[in-house]
Every structure is written in structure tokens, then in C-alpha cells.
């Protein structure tokens, strides 16, 4: 069964029927937003059943569309959180990616500004590495990007999509070794992105991110994970009661190869490790449970099939 990331938008009336349907079909609801009279569900659903959900959702004024970024956590890295980059350049991009289904976290570097003086500290590096992908939003000048980017990427192991003021071709020529994706003509700006040209730049960022993540999915499919992170999320939600007391918008964040569980590591790492998934297999058997550098959260990294010889 191939699960496809989708977004369902519809009225709040009888939306529980759609949620039940997705779960009955073997899909997973990653996130649910209720905004006034509207419900937005981000879910992974079986590819063959999308039409069925569309048909059942139609009388409820619901629509369903593909959003390839559902189930990913993306870091939007800005050289700082000063007025030079906020709110428009960083927030507009982060929000646009969020609307396309990803969980985005903005990472404002403590000393990422400037050309010669730009730095990346170990905490920032580790936090960025906990994500599925990092989008770097740099400035307008070639000279600055060429000089500071090698410092800002040092130690980063996740795929990087680089955005900057110079054109995409120029960005490509500046960066060595190459990164996974480039989007040019979107550097520093001080106004809201409203014009169609600017919005098409944001669309381009989504396209590039999607392409990079698709390549990553193909790689992962060669040695599949022992358990799907979305399924693991359901297990945590069902069996660890404390997760329902967490007030974060996403107490369990689904990533491509694991989960971020927003519970304190010291207390709950053992609990999670011993939590049973199915038939005596526990989370500890199929995944590494590590402390996250983000607050005192827990990071679960699912091991591939080749390591565990278990497939649930």
C-alpha cells in the first residue's frame, strides 16, 4: 500500500466522518487544524483511495489535494532574527512552506550576519541536522554568499536548499561543493510578498524542496524503514497518555525518518523505549531514542529494515 501525502480542506460539519474514513482506509492523520468553521487535515492516505475520499468529502464541501511536504519537518535558516530579515523574507517563506504541509521551524542564527564575522555554533548545527531539510535564506550579494556560506554549512548533514538574491545560475556557480537545491532572485527584501512574480519565486522554492525530498524518498525506499513514522505517531498517541497534556500545536512531529516527541527526555525516554508497537516489538527494538537539542524533547530515529530485520 503506497501512502500519499495530502491535505483535506472542508467544513467542520461532519468532518469526523472524513477522519474515520482516512483511518479506516489505513491512512494516518498527521495534523488537524480547526480554523473558525473550516478544518484542514494533513494526512497520509492510500493512493488508490484518494478518489473515494474526494467523493465522500464533496457533499461536505471538502476538497482534497496532494501536498508533497506533509510528514516532513523543515528548518528555515535565517542569518539572524533582526529587522533586516524579519518579518518578510524569513516569515513569508516559512509560512508558504507551512501552507504546503510541512512543519517548519525558523532557525535564527545568533551570529549568522555579516560576511567575515558569520558563524554557526554547535547547537545551531545540531538543531538544523535534526530536520529533514534546511532552507538557507541568504542576502542579495554574490560576494557575501560565496564568502559566508561555507561557514554556515559546516557540519550540516541534511539536504540544503539555498536561496539568495543572485540568479539561480550564479548561485550554482558560487557554491562548491554543490548543495541539493538552489532558488535565485529571492534574497533580502523588506516588503510583503504579494506580487505574482514574488509568489512564483516561493512556488519555485516549494518545487525545489519537493524534488529534493522526492530524491530522498527514493533513496529511503531502497532500504525501507522498519516502521512508518506516521504509524509510530499513532502508537505514541494511543499508548503514551502524557502526550495529550502537551500544549504544543504538534506534540508529536512526523519527520521522514522519525519523530520529534515533545516530552522531557529524562522522564519519557524509557517509557517510549518500552512502548509496544505490535506483537511484542517495542519502539526501542526498531528505533533509536535520543535527546533532541531543541529544548528537552525526544528524537526518535527509525532504523532501516536492513538493521533490524523487522518490518511492521
Amino acid at each position: 500500500m503506497i501512502l500519499v501525502p495530502v491535505t483535506y480542506k472542508g467544513g467542520i460539519y461532519r468532518h469526523d466522518e472524513i477522519m474515520d474514513l482516512i483511518e479506516d482506509l489505513g491512512g494516518y492523520i498527521i495534523q488537524k487544524h480547526v480554523i473558525a468553521q473550516e478544518v484542514v487535515l494533513q494526512a497520509l492516505v492510500p493512493k488508490d483511495d484518494i478518489e473515494l475520499i474526494r467523493r465522500i468529502g464533496k457533499p461536505l464541501t471538502g476538497e482534497i489535494f496532494a501536498s508533497p511536504l506533509v510528514g516532513t519537518e523543515i528548518a528555515v535558516v535565517s542569518p539572524s532574527l533582526e529587522i533586516h530579515h524579519l518579518p518578510h523574507a524569513s516569515c513569508d517563506t516559512a509560512e508558504y512552506i507551512r501552507r504546503n504541509g510541512a512543519k517548519t521551524n525558523m532557525v535564527g542564527l545568533a551570529r549568522g550576519f555579516g560576511k567575515r564575522i558569520a558563524q554557526l555554533n554547535d547547537e545551531e548545527r545540531d538543531v538544523i541536522n535534526e530536520h529533514d531539510l534546511a532552507v538557507y535564506l541568504l542576502g542579495d550579494f554574490e560576494a557575501c554568499i560565496a564568502h559566508k556560506f561555507p561557514v554556515l554549512r559546516r557540519g550540516i548533514t541534511v539536504p540544503i536548499v539555498l536561496c539568495g538574491g543572485p540568479s539561480t545560475e550564479v548561485l550554482k556557480s558560487l557554491i562548491d561543493p554543490p548543495v541539493e537545491g538552489y532558488v535565485g532572485s529571492i534574497g533580502r527584501f523588506m516588503h510583503r510578498t504579494k506580487e505574482s512574480e514574488e509568489l512564483s519565486r516561493l512556488d519555485e522554492i516549494i518545487e525545489v524542496i519537493t524534488a529534493v525530498l522526492d530524491r530522498r524518498r527514493v533513496e529511503l525506499a531502497k532500504d525501507p524503514l522498519s516502521v512508518s513514522p506516521a504509524r509510530l505517531m499513532n502508537v505514541v498517541n494511543e499508548k503514551v497518555d502524557a502526550i495529550h497534556d502537551v500544549l504544543s500545536p504538534t506534540p508529536v512531529t512526523v519527520q521522514m525518518t522519525g519523530l520529534r516527541v515533545k516530552l522531557p527526555y529524562d522522564t519519557f525516554a524509557i517509557v517510549l523505549k518500552k512502548t509496544e508497537i505490535e506483537g511484542g516489538t517495542t519502539i526501542g527494538d526498531v528505533a533509536d531514542i535520543r535527546p533532541s537539542r531543541m529544548r528537552d524533547y525526544i528524537l526518535i530515529r527509525v532504523k532501516p529494515f536492513s538493521e533490524t530485520n523487522v518490518f511492521i
Binding site: 539572524s80 533586516h84 530579515h85 542579495d140 560576494a143 543572485p166
Partner: protein, 193 residues
């Protein structure tokens, strides 16, 4: 930016320069400074790195004196000030408190100030300078230029006065000949420092 007589960005990188033209435009608009600036020349060289902004302001409104916004009525040592425009009340009270002491300045309601002053003390009270709009405008202007400049340029030098202003900024120590460079830029807009 039609209101600005001269507005140019000089930059060795063409694309970067055009982005900064837009940034400067938006920032000055956001800070309501388009009507204040008459000429503005920005020089950015990210290779050095160096940022120079030089410019000239429009003719600014003069100093606001007490008689411009209040009536002063003197009767046998009792001075009554009736405020017409509340905008300058706070700076006025501060000046009066400093000059005569808090206990001698009574304010029975928002628009009235009563003081017991000798004739010497109350002489020329109507001409008391209360507020100089140029100080805040220059401060706003320098702040706006700091927003425009590339981020991380922490070494700065700024100047304003006689209708002219400049701001130079860099990550490194400013070059020794920085004033000559500023003069060169002023020459470009047809002014001298």
C-alpha cells in the same frame, strides 16, 4: 520615490544594487521619511565591505515655541498657560519642571498649567523653545539608514546637521580615508560637506 530629487544606489554588483534600491525605497516609505529626504546616494561594496549613505534633507519645520501651541495669560504673578495642542505638552512640562521645580507648576486639568512666577521669571515665557523637530527627524533618518544597510555592519559612524547627513558602516574598522570617501559621494549629489 518621485518626491526625492536624487536617489541612486552605487554598487559593483548590478543585481544587488537594484535590490537595495527597492529596499531603501520601502524602508523610507515605511518610516514616513520620503518627504523629509531631498537627495540620497547609497554606496555599497560588499567586497570591502563598506556602506556609505549620504544625503540632504528638505527644509525642515522650525523650532516649536510655547506661543505656537498655547496662550499665556499673566496676572499679578500668576501665569496661566492654556494648551491648544496637546502634542507638545509632555516636553513643555519637562522643561517647566526643570526650570521652576515641580511644586511650582500646577496642572489642574489636561489643558491648563498654572504657575506663580515673578515678573523676571515670566519674562519671555511665550518664546520658550519647547520642541525641535529636526532632532527626532534626524534620529529617525539615521535609524532608517541602519535598517537599509546590510546586516552585520556593526562599525558605524554617523553625522547630521545643516540639512545634511551621512552614515558609514562596515564589519571591519573603517578605512582611514573615510571622510574623503564621504566627500566624494557628497560631490556626486552636487553638495559639499
Amino acid at each position: 520615490m518621485e518626491a526625492v530629487e536624487y536617489f541612486k544606489v552605487e554598487c559593483p554588483e548590478e543585481a544587488g544594487g537594484s535590490y537595495y534600491l527597492r529596499i531603501a525605497d520601502v524602508v523610507l516609505l515605511d518610516h514616513n521619511l520620503v518627504r523629509v529626504v531631498k537627495k540620497l546616494h547609497l554606496f555599497i561594496d560588499p567586497r570591502i565591505p563598506l556602506f556609505i549613505a549620504v544625503g540632504v534633507t528638505q527644509k525642515l519645520p522650525g523650532i516649536v515655541r510655547l506661543r505656537d501651541f498655547a496662550d499665556v495669560n499673566q496676572q499679578e504673578g500668576k501665569v496661566t498657560v492654556s494648551i491648544g495642542n496637546e502634542a507638545y505638552l509632555a516636553p513643555l512640562l519637562k522643561i517647566l519642571w526643570e526650570k521652576f521645580g515641580k511644586d511650582r507648576v500646577e496642572q489642574p486639568d489636561r489643558f491648563t498649567i498654572i504657575m506663580n512666577l515673578s515678573s523676571e521669571e515670566s519674562e519671555g515665557l511665550e518664546d520658550l523653545p519647547v520642541f525641535d523637530p529636526s532632532t527626532t527627524i534626524y534620529k529617525d533618518l539615521i535609524y532608517a539608514l541602519q535598517v537599509i544597510q546590510p546586516e552585520g555592519f556593526k562599525v558605524r559612524r554617523q553625522y547630521y546637521g545643516n540639512g545634511k547627513f551621512y552614515l558609514v558602516a562596515s564589519e571591519d574598522t573603517l578605512p582611514e580615508n573615510i571622510e574623503d570617501l564621504v566627500r566624494e559621494k557628497f560631490a556626486l549629489i552636487g553638495e559639499s560637506l
